[in-house]
Every structure is written in C-alpha cells, then in structure tokens.
C-alpha cells in the first residue's frame, strides 16, 4: 500500500452535542498540510474504519497564514492549520478545536471576543475624514520598524488560547489586544486616545491579570513581540493610574 498519513480528528455536531473522535487514513502526498488533508476528507468523507461520515467544519480562508482563520490545536499545540505541514508532525496527527472559545461545530469556534476587545480599546486612528487632507505625519524608519511587527497581528487568537490567565474567571483581554494598544498609542495621531486605552486596560480583566507565563509570545505565528508590548503597556497603565489618582 502507498504511504499514508493517519489523523485523529475531534468531531462535535453542535455546541450541545457530545464530542467524539474519528480516525482517518489518507494517501501521503508531497507538501501535504492539515488543510489539504481536510479537503481530501471532504471529497471522500469516509473514516479509516470505512464508515461514511460528514465533511469537517472548520474555518479557513487565505491558507497563507495571513488571514488568521484556521487556528486549531494540532498535536496539542495551538497553531495555524495551513502552515502545519504533515511531514513535520508526529502521527497520528491529533486535531482539535481551540478550547477557550465557544464551540460552533467540529473545529470551528467563535472568536468574536477579540473584535469586541478591539472596540473597547479604540484600536484605530481617529482621522478627521476620508477627503483629501494632504500627507500624513512624518514617521522615521526606526519608528516604522517598531510598529510594523505589531501591525502584523492576524487575530488568530493563538496567544489567548495558550494563556493560563485567559479564562472566564479573570476576563483577561489577552496579549493581542494589549499589543494593539501599544501600536495605536505609538501612532502620532492615534495617541490622542492613549489615556482612554490605558484606562480600558486598567480595570477588571485588564493588563494586571497577566501572569507573565510567556506562552503567548511562543505561540504567536507572527513572532510579534507580545511580552515586550505587555510590559511597555503595563508600565503606561500604572503611570496612568497614578496620574488619575493624583488628579482625583
């Protein structure tokens, strides 16, 4: 028999249904990744035991690790499925949904909490309008090089999944949002909301919930300097708190 690849995929028909595991054995192909394996299953939805099943529900879009859709747990690790090359993974390859977000179906979860957090911290530059107002503020290359990595965040939520503090008890916003606060507070126009952003991170679920486990920075597929962002913003939050206290 041709070389094959073995998968164990966690299935769950709906949020209220019981979870089960299904095994799949697929023909190995050069350059195969977890996504192409699931495409293969959709074209031939049969388990390793020969039992007909349904195609797997999962989020995906760009398949280039830039849209942030296909985050899942692969062999226990939160990562993007498109860049998970089968040849680099131990078999059977275990695939599960992210565990810290409400499950929708199979490997699909609801990560809208991150987008809500971005609203809370006003993660935007408040331009006057979109009509032509001439060029933007000058930005020196050194500053661009500091901001660009932060702007690469793909909202995959891997940093939140692996964070021990990201749970219902703490309501912690997570590293991704904190890094965006640093990005917009650095911007010459964006910084007009600096105080508001810092106050939004000062309360319940704010930056003080961080336990410095440093899992986030290891899990980030974009190598964003998350722990640096947390310490920088954390310092700013403390300063802001003192200012607010002194002002009464």
């Amino acid at each position: 028999m041709a070389k094959t690849v073995k998968f164990e995929i966690k299935r769950q028909a709906s949020p209220d249904s019981p979870a089960t595991w299904e095994n799949f054995e697929l023909e190995w192909r050069q350059g195969m990744n977890v996504i192409s394996a699931m495409m293969e299953i959709a074209a031939n939805p049969v388990t390793a035991e020969g039992k007909p099943t349904t195609p797997i529900t999962y989020d995906s879009n760009c398949l280039e690790e830039i849209c942030g859709s296909c985050a899942m747990r692969i062999n226990g690790k939160a990562r993007m499925a498109c860049s998970a090359l089968v040849d680099n993974l131990e078999q059977p390859i275990k695939v599960e949904p992210l565990s810290k977000f409400p499950l929708v179906r199979d490997l699909q979860v609801d990560r809208s909490v991150l987008f809500e957090n971005l609203m809370r911290v006003k993660a935007w530059v408040p331009v006057d309008g979109t009509y032509d107002l001439g060029s933007g503020p000058r930005v020196f290359p050194q500053q661009q090089e500091a901001n660009y990595p932060l702007s690469n965040c793909i909202s995959c939520t891997c940093c939140m999944e692996v964070c021990p503090q990201f749970n219902e008890d703490t309501n912690f916003v997570g590293a991704a949002t904190i890094a965006q606060v640093k990005l917009f507070n650095n911007h010459p126009t964006g910084k007009v909301f600096k105080e508001e952003r810092l106050r939004a991170l000062a309360g319940d679920g704010g930056i003080q919930e961080c336990g410095y486990a440093q899992n986030c920075v290891e899990a980030c597929p974009k190598q964003i300097p998350l722990t640096n962002a947390i310490s920088d913003v954390g310092r700013d939050v403390v300063v802001q708190k003192i200012k607010d206290f002194l002002r009464g």
């Binding site: 995906s60 398949l63 929708v104 979109t130």
Partner: protein, 592 residues
C-alpha cells in the same frame, strides 16, 4: 427622511472603502461577509499600492501612470474611469498614511516607493511585503469605529444568495444565508453594493482565498446582470505550487532585484550553486532587455510557460523555474521582503535568502467581472459593484499593485453614488419582490437537501478546476475551449445528482459550498465561451492560432447575458472608451 439603508456585500478593501464613505455621508450600512471582514482575501495582496507621487525625482506623473495602466491592459479598459483612478491615487495613499498604515519610509520620514512590473518608475508604496494586510486593517479599524457609532451593522458569517429585484427590475435588497443556523433571510435596502472579489476557485487551485468563488457575481448574472470581459483572467508568473492552493510569490521579489532563470542545458542535474553564471539562462532579461524581470505579468507568464514547455528547460524537467534573490544581502531582504520570504520558508522549507525559489505561474486575478457604468452601477438599477468583482479598471491585463488602489477607489466611488441613488429612489411597490425571492432560494435549498444522487460536490469541483486550468489559462486553443465548455455542460448535468454527505442544518459548510459550486459552473461558461469567441491575442488572453491583437474586430468589451438556454450565455460587444490615448502596439522588448 430617515438615513438611507444600504447593503454592502463583501468586507475586503473595496467593500470597506464603500462602507466608510456611506457612514461618513450619514447613511446606514448592513455589511455582509462570509468571513469576519478582517480575514478577507485583500490581506493576501503583498507588494504594494501604486500612485504617481513622484517622491524619487523621476518626473513621474498621474498621466504616465494612466498611460502605463492603459498600455499594460492592452487598451481594453475604458479610459475615463482609469484616468480618474490614476488622478485620485496620490490622495488615497495620503489618506491611508493618515489612517496609520505602516508604510516603509525614507530616512527623512517620507513614504518610500519601489518599482513594480509594467513601469519604469518607483511608484509603489509598500508596507514590508504585507501591504494588503496593512491596508485592509486600516480600513477595518475605521469601519469598527463607525460600528461603535452605530452607522454600521456587520453580518459576518452570512453568505449572499441573490439580490431582490422588484417588478420594475430594480434591486431592493438581498437574500442571505446564516452559515451557522442555515437560515435564509431577506434584507431590504434602497441600494446594494457588491464587493465580492475574484473567482479563482473556478480554476481549482489558485492564489485566491477559499471564499473567492465568484458565486455572488454569478448569482446576479443569472438574475440579469451583464458580466463583462469574463475571458480575461490573470495568471501570476510566480506562485509556489502547493497541495491545497498556489501561494503567491509577490512581484515585489522581482521589484527588489529578483532574477528569473533556468539552466541553459535541458535536464541539467547539477545543484543550482554549481551552475556557473554563463550557463544560466536569464530569459526575461535576454528577451526583454528594457524591462527585464519586470515585464508585465502576462508577458512573464507566457515566457515561463515557453521556457518550460517549448524549450524544455524547466528545473529537473519539472514545470518550475528559479526566482533568485540570493545575490541580495540578507539585511535588505529582511527589511523589504520578510513577509513573503517567510511564506516560502514556512510552506516549502527552504530559505530563499540562501537558495533560489522554485516557482511556476498560477491563476491569480479576475480582470473581468460584473459590467458597471461610470457610476459603478450594474445594469440592474440599485445594484452596484466595486473591487475585483467588476470589470472596468484593468482591461486585458492588470499591472502589479494597481489592484489595491482600484479597490479603494472603486469603493470610494460606489459608496457616495449609492447614497445619492438611495435618497432618490422612492419606495418599492408592495414587498419589492422579497417574498418571491425568499421562496425561490428556499426551494433551491430544499431541492439540494433531498437530492439522492451519487456525485460528490468537491470531486465535481476538482474536475472543473482541472478543465479550466488546462484549457482556459495561459494558452488557449478553440478546440480546447470547446472541450472545456462540453465538460462544464456535463458537470452541470451531473450537478443534478449531487448528494450531500451532510444534510444537517447547523454550520454545514459543504451545503454552502455546493450552492457556490453551481454558481461557479454557470460563471465558468462565461469565461470559456467568451474566450472562444475572441479570436485574437490581447493582454492575458493568448491564442497561438490568432497571435495578434485585432483592434478592428475586438477592441470591444465582451458582455455576457444569462439565458438559461442549454447553449449558454448570449454575447454582445460594446465599444471601448479610448478618447484620451490612441491604441498603439504593446511591446516590452523596448521602451514604449
């Protein structure tokens, strides 16, 4: 009067640009997207965005940008909208800069520009090699701000099924499906803007994202909207072949000095490093000394095709050529191209700073699209289109880094015009056709769920992709195009026997996909038949049996109309607006 209600479908650059303009004008937007808008395909645009800012002392002007775009598109684009777009581009760059896009900078803190294909000027502003991602985020952030202010309501995780057309033929809203509950629901609006992107999925594997199926365009085409220049699709010269998709290797790799070559000896087995400079064939530089590696995409694609299939010089006899950056120092590469080099490293396993990349052309961009007038409106009043899903800015071939600019300009144009239209349109008669459209869509779903055939939709899709890639991409023959059309008819027939392995009504992705597949099949006939009828070679459309451009017969926009008849769409032709630049031969072996 209440604020006009406008629906925007699609949350990429064009859709979000339209949303922002409508919100600014005081309108209310319902924004529909299959994926959270921040995950739209625009994030994949890598290289940059063009505008003739002339910050490099080269004497660049918007007129030159206009000429490059028209010339690059082989004179098929209507010139009035293209001219307006080129003139608006510098202002759009400034706006994006003000919104916080982290564009690369010169030492003085000004915007930096790079060169791209089809021009001799440094005209492309860029943010590393992830410009599209950065542009989309900037617009996404502004939309989020309007969402907080209550001007925008997002319906993320909803799929557009059709437009609602009233008894007078005007668009009055849309029918969409919730991709979790599978509920089919009508949404009424005074105007609808489609910004639903390209149709790469019709070709099976492409550089496009999963959602780029062309399904929405096809649905409204089947409701009476014209589809224009469908036969013009762009095959990008440099993509990385993969099992699940073809990943784009940005043109910026060549813009920063990347060189394309193959060994001069067929089947040369030596590792690349042992092949001396004199035995390397830099075929783009030899064949096109003026533009070299930066010829436009259609020219580069055909050259690679030729060197592989006619000259038999593919690496190891495989359909691949080298794209070499190893002569450029690591520091420069990391600063300017890190994002794309990481993609290659991650998905192939080699470091392109040390080893030349192996690349091959792949389906990339849809020049054709819904026919629109100079106000971005389709022939269905009240239904607008902007972005890659419409046809009017690139003619027969798109130049690199011209698309992000077109998307934003198109959205900025469509938004305010839709607001104006919505304010004046007046109330619909009765329910405006809503109940009938809901009934039609519900019946289609019911039929699909009860089908008891043997066909798997994903396998039908693969067959479609293989046929389209073989017959309707780089080189086209009428015989092959006829075969492709016959194959599509066969697939449409077999579609009637599609059986869903999953009939549940919760987050059923294969059900949604099967609905898209039908629309892909209908649209693929527009592409294939349009190509069959166009007996000439122009831009990306190349027929060896008709190697020359034929302005007398084909300096015309193709317009396809849906008939529902077995022979497929009906075609008609419309004159191209060439009032500013007289068509002249297009060649890149010398300065134009």
């Amino acid at each position: 009067m209440a604020a006009p209600r406008i629906i925007v479908v699609g949350g990429g650059l064009a859709g979000l640009a339209a949303v922002i303009k409508i919100a600014e004008a005081g309108g209310h937007v319902d924004l529909f997207s299959i994926v959270p808008v921040k995950r739209s395909h625009s994030v994949c645009a890598q290289g940059g965005i063009n505008a003739a800012k002339n910050l490099k002392g080269e004497g660049d002007t918007t007129d030159k940008h206009f000429d490059d775009t028209i010339y690059g598109g082989d004179f098929l684009a209507n010139q009035t909208p293209v001219k307006a777009m080129c003139e608006a581009a510098p202002g759009i760059i400034d706006l994006l800069d003000r919104m916080g896009v982290p564009f690369n900078r010169t030492p003085e803190g000004l915007l930096d520009f790079r060169r791209f294909g089809g021009t001799l000027y440094h005209r492309t502003a860029f943010a590393g090699a992830t410009t599209g991602q950065q542009l989309l985020y900037a617009l996404d952030e502004q939309v989020r701000r309007h969402e907080v202010d209550g001007h925008v309501h997002k319906y993320e995780g909803w799929e557009f099924l059709s437009s609602i057309v009233d008894s007078k033929g005007s668009c009055r809203g849309i029918v969409a499906m919730d991709l979790r509950t599978m509920e089919v629901r009508a949404f009424q609006a005074e105007a609808v803007i489609l910004a639903t992107g390209g149709n790469g999925a019709i070709f099976g594997k492409s550089t496009n994202s999963v959602v780029c199926t062309g399904s929405a365009q096809s649905a409204v085409f089947q409701q009476g909207a014209y589809y224009a220049n469908g036969e013009f699709i762009q095959v990008h010269p440099t993509s990385i072949p993969g099992e699940d998709k073809l990943r784009l290797m940005s043109e910026s790799a060549r813009g920063e000095g990347g060189r394309v070559w193959v060994p001069r000896t067929p089947g040369d087995k030596r590792p690349w490093k042992q092949i001396p400079e004199s035995e390397r064939f830099y075929f783009l530089e030899e064949w096109y000394p003026k533009y070299g590696n930066l010829v436009p995409r259609d020219v580069a694609t055909r050259a690679i095709h030729k060197v592989v299939y006619e000259n038999g010089l593919g690496i190891d006899g495989q359909p691949m050529v080298y794209l070499d950056l190893t002569h450029i120092d690591r520091e420069t590469l990391n600063r300017k191209l890190e994002g794309i080099l990481e993609i290659y490293e991650k998905f192939v396993g080699d470091d392109p700073r040390e080893v030349p990349m192996k690349i091959f052309p792949g389906m990339h961009y849809t020049m054709g699209g819904l026919w629109v007038d100079n106000n971005q409106m389709t022939n269905i009043p009240g239904l607008f289109a902007c972005g890659e899903c419409e046809y009017q800015y690139h003619g027969a071939n798109r130049l690199g880094a011209n698309s992000p600019r077109q998307f934003i300009f198109g959205g900025f144009t469509a938004g305010p015009i839709a607001v104006k239209y919505a304010k004046n349109v007046g109330a619909a008669e009765g329910d405006g056709g809503t109940a009938a459209e809901i009934a039609r869509q519900t019946e289609m779903n019911r039929q699909l769920l009860k089908n008891e055939g043997k066909e798997n939709p994903f396998r039908l899709w693969r067959e479609l992709g293989v046929t389209m890639t073989e017959h309707a991409t780089v080189i086209r023959y009428n015989k092959g195009l006829k075969q492709a059309d016959e194959k599509i008819v066969e697939l449409l027939d077999r579609f009637q026997n599609v059986s869903l392995a999953d009939r549940t009504q919760w987050a059923n992705t294969s059900f949604a996909f099967t609905r898209q597949l039908y629309n892909m099949l209908e649209l693929s006939r527009v592409i294939v038949q349009g190509a069959l009828l166009r007996d000439e070679s122009r831009g990306a459309h190349y027929k060896p049996d008709f190697p020359d451009r034929n302005d007398e017969k084909f300096l015309k926009t193709t317009k396809a109309a849906f008939t529902g008849a077995p022979e497929g769409p009906r075609f008609e032709y419309e004159d191209v607006d060439t009032q500013f630049i007289k068509p002249r031969p297009r060649r890149y072996d010398a300065a134009k």
